[in-house]
């Protein structure tokens, strides 16, 4: 009756619990841990999913551990909202699954189970109204710390072949993607909407997603992880643009090498021409670069954007040089070429024909290259969920929705997403941004509309809640809940707090009442 699984992520083998007596039949082993007496094939589990045949022995895979882990990380209580006015169903399938049923989570390979959750209520002098909003208008902004060219601005970004967003204006050291939004979710084909929704959901829940940019790169993005561009993991951000790098390291180079070129897709820096080099007294080297000179020692467009040196498409840095000027250059002149991350470098000496010939990097220069690397921050992908809660979601909080908007605008009401602080965009509506890595695991869900479901809590003082026309009838003190299932009674209420393992960095949104969270 059970599907075998061999997923070692979910089945932790505890040797100590090993080995009920076993009889063999071929490579199958008969497990006598329980009266079902399953024959278990190698690498598979019996009907219970608890005992597996691993290397010819029956070994216990411990689902209780799994249950405990999921319960402690997921939190134990999730309120379930509903009222006559508002069927404010709290949708957090993963955590509902963990917290409301639990049975499902004891199976590493569990059934797709419906689940039951009971009503939990909170509200002392602080009120937290917990809902999970369905966001048709939502998306993610992705910041990818890399100078490698991912694609041209406004190029389409695709997942599974469907357009899910576009490349937007880059930031210093980072490429930016804007994904999702109502047009991709509901404005295109059904498949486009579904794939967009899955992409957003996976990104918000911290899963890796492979994206491809039209006429650009393939990149694997995972919130909090390094980007993987065309199969290569990006390790570090550039220390700065090429010109900035010259500025930062000119002193360490001066006197050790005659010329330094910092190759960068944005601004390639040349020490001898750069103000920083001039200031130190660097001499004209006769170097000539391709591209367009911006100001002395600063060159735009020395090559095409790409995934080679410093975010350009080059693999041989000499290709960005024109022949040295014979009037100014001299044989024996030394030159360091280095990328803005220090990951690529080359040391050259001009021969009698004034051609650069590569030599081994001298130790005193190696130190400076390593220092560039050392000064580069780890390259990360960061994902901000952005959505507008300006619509009827507010009716779940108050009879007079615009008062909630104003209350948020006046900072009387704090907005959090699964306890994570949210930035509220100024202006009309409640347009929020939140770092998905600060939201509890799998805090986001979806509905097949398609639209994303995100947790959202409005926290305010009780009197402020009353003032904005809150559903006071539904507010109950936390104590009335403690350890009791009697208060459930089939009444489903929508003012409450969800108890989840709080993120270490998040300030608790609700003040003193927070200590009473049910867990």
């Amino acid at each position: 009756m059970s599907a075998p699984h061999t997923n070692s992520d979910t089945a932790s083998v505890t040797e100590g619990n090993a080995a009920p007596e076993a009889a063999k039949l071929g490579d199958k082993i008969r497990c006598d841990a329980c009266p079902v007496m399953c024959y278990v094939k190698p690498g598979m589990t019996g009907a219970c999913d608890r005992y597996a045949n691993i290397d010819g022995r029956i070994v216990r895979t411990d689902p209780h551990l799994l249950l405990d882990r999921t319960l402690t990380t997921g939190g134990a209580v999730v309120p379930f909202g509903n009222s006559a006015a508002w069927d404010g169903t709290l949708i957090d399938p993963e955590r509902h699954f963990v917290t409301a049923i639990g049975a499902g989570t004891t199976y590493p390979d569990y059934k797709p189970a419906p689940f039951i959750v009971s009503a939990k209520i909170d509200g002392t002098d602080m009120v937290t109204v917990v809902t999970e909003g369905i966001f048709s208008y939502c998306g993610v902004k992705v910041k990818i710390d890399t100078d490698r060219h991912l694609g041209h601005e406004s190029s389409a970004v695709r997942a599974a072949g469907e357009a899910v967003g576009h490349v937007t204006t880059g930031e210093y050291g980072s490429q930016m993607l804007s994904l999702g939004g109502v047009h991709h979710l509901t404005g295109g084909s059904k498949k486009e909407g579904r794939v967009t929704c899955e992409t957003l959901l996976d990104l918000c829940n911290g899963k890796p997603v492979e994206l491809s940019v039209d006429d650009g790169a393939r990149v694997i993005v995972q919130a909090g992880g390094p980007p993987i561009v065309n199969g290569a993991a990006e390790e570090r951000m550039r220390v700065g643009c090429g010109s900035a790098t010259i500025g930062m390291f000119a002193k360490q180079w001066f006197g050790k090498v005659d010329e330094v070129v910092v190759v960068d897709d944005h601004i390639t820096g040349v020490l001898s021409e750069h103000q920083a080099g001039r200031y130190l007294g660097a001499k004209d080297s006769g170097i000539r670069l391709k591209g367009r000179r911006s100001t002395p020692g600063r060159y735009f467009q020395v090559a095409q954007p790409g995934t080679g040196w410093g975010g350009t498409d080059i693999t041989d840095p000499l290709t960005i040089l024109e022949p040295f000027d014979p009037k100014r250059a001299r044989p024996g002149l030394t030159m360091l070429m280095v990328s803005t991350t220090g990951e690529q470098f080359g040391f050259y000496r001009l021969d009698d024909m004034l051609r650069p010939v590569e030599e081994e990097l001298p130790d005193d220069l190696r130190v400076s290259v390593e220092r560039i690397r050392e000064n580069c921050e780890p390259a990360l992908c960061t994902v901000l969920f952005m959505g507008g809660a300006g619509g009827s979601l507010r009716a779940g909080v108050t009879d007079n929705p615009v008062r909630l908007t104003r209350s948020v605008g006046d900072a009387l009401t704090r907005v959090t997403c699964g306890g994570a602080p949210a930035y509220i965009w100024p202006g009309g509506g409640i347009t929020l941004m939140v770092d998905v890595t600060r939201v509890p695991d799998n805090g986001f869900g979806y509905v097949p509309t398609p639209a994303l479901v995100a947790p959202i809590e409005f926290t305010m003082r009780l009197e402020d809640y009353a003032a904005l026309g809150g559903h006071l009838d539904w507010v109950r003190p936390l104590e009335s809940l403690a350890g009791s299932s009697e208060s459930g009674g089939g009444e489903i209420v929508m003012a409450g707090r969800r108890a989840v393992a709080p993120h270490d960095d998040n300030p608790w949104p609700a003040g003193p009442a927070a200590s009473g969270s049910v867990r």
């Binding site: 509902h96 917290t99 797709p112 109502v182 509309t449």
Partner: protein, 300 residues
């Protein structure tokens, strides 16, 4: 029974019972004494169930279509009775209803011990038996895929409706399936009946002969499987909209038939992001009985 594990979950409300392959989450609502009596009864009833079932396991693993003796045990009897009406849909064994029947029997024990109980549920890995006193209700949230759990709807079950069982079946789940549905969720009069029906409908959601669907003999995966050498679904490739529609339509026809025979109340079928239900066979986004859209949208 030292083998079974019995404990309260950390919320102090839900009881977790486990024995061999059976995992139950039990919760009762009502007066304090009734809750206590119900928990004790659930535990008392639970600890012998696995032995009772194993005593006649070979019979329970045999097709009900073959005649023969009805099983002797109470749970086994519930299983047999639940699957018997489905014999005409092809090969089915009482094991198709085991999870629901165990939930049902445990709940029955609780109700005997605490007749005044307001509400209770016994959830056996997603197959759920419900008790509802008059004028009470349960809300149930439904998900479509276990590996990407997300809610597609909620069902509110009121005491005056003839629904006391909820079950879900699909190839991604713990049980094997002949079909390709990600999940089929059924509401029926009893948990065992819902369990058996979900299995049958999930089997019917299929594209026979589709070359991309990987299938393997059940006995190659689990030597003792009641399904023997019959092919069970192991992987389903991305399907075209037309294929999805065809497979779901086949399942829906089966579900409709079961409803017309009075065996189920409602069914929702999911395949690769598409959802159909008896209540709204053509409009996947709106499932009146499951009411996913009673929640208002933030926009549009």
């Amino acid at each position: 029974m030292s083998r079974a594990q019995i404990r309260m979950l950390p919320d102090g409300c839900r009881l977790h019972l486990q024995d061999g392959p059976i995992d139950l989450i039990v919760e009762a609502f009502g007066a304090r004494d009734d809750i206590r009596r119900a928990r004790d009864a659930a535990t008392a009833r639970f600890v012998t169930i696995l032995d009772e079932l194993c005593a006649e396991l070979p019979l329970l693993r045999a097709s009900v279509g073959r005649g023969g003796y009805p099983p002797a045990g109470i749970v086994a009897g519930r299983m047999h009775d639940a699957v018997a009406p489905f014999a005409c849909y092809g090969f089915v064994t009482p094991m198709a209803a085991v999870a629901g029947a165990v939930a049902e029997e445990t709940l029955a024990g609780m109700r005997r011990a605490a007749p005044e109980l307001e509400r209770a549920y016994v959830n056996n890995g997603g197959d759920i038996a419900l008790h509802l006193a008059p004028a009470t209700s349960f809300s149930i949230a439904l998900i479509d895929r276990p590996d990407r759990p997300s809610l597609f709807g909620t069902a509110r079950i009121d005491a005056d409706e003839p629904i006391r069982g909820v079950a879900t079946s699909g190839w991604r789940g713990r049980s094997f399936s002949f079909g390709i549905a990600d999940a089929v969720t059924v509401l029926a009069a009893s948990a065992a009946q819902a369990d058996a029906a979900a299995t049958i409908i999930a089997n019917a959601v299929d594209l026979p002969g589709h070359p991309g669907i990987a299938r393997a003999p059940a006995c190659d995966l689990q030597p003792d499987s009641d399904l023997g050498s019959r092919l069970v679904t192991r992987a389903v490739p991305p399907l075209t909209d037309g294929e999805i529609d065809r497979a779901l339509s086949a399942g829906l026809a089966c579900a409709r038939d079961l409803r017309d025979r009075g065996l189920i109340e409602e069914a929702a079928l999911h395949l690769q992001g598409e959802t159909r239900s008896l209540a709204s066979p053509d409009a996947p986004a709106s499932l009146p009985a499951f009411t996913p859209d009673r929640r208002e949208f933030v926009h549009g």
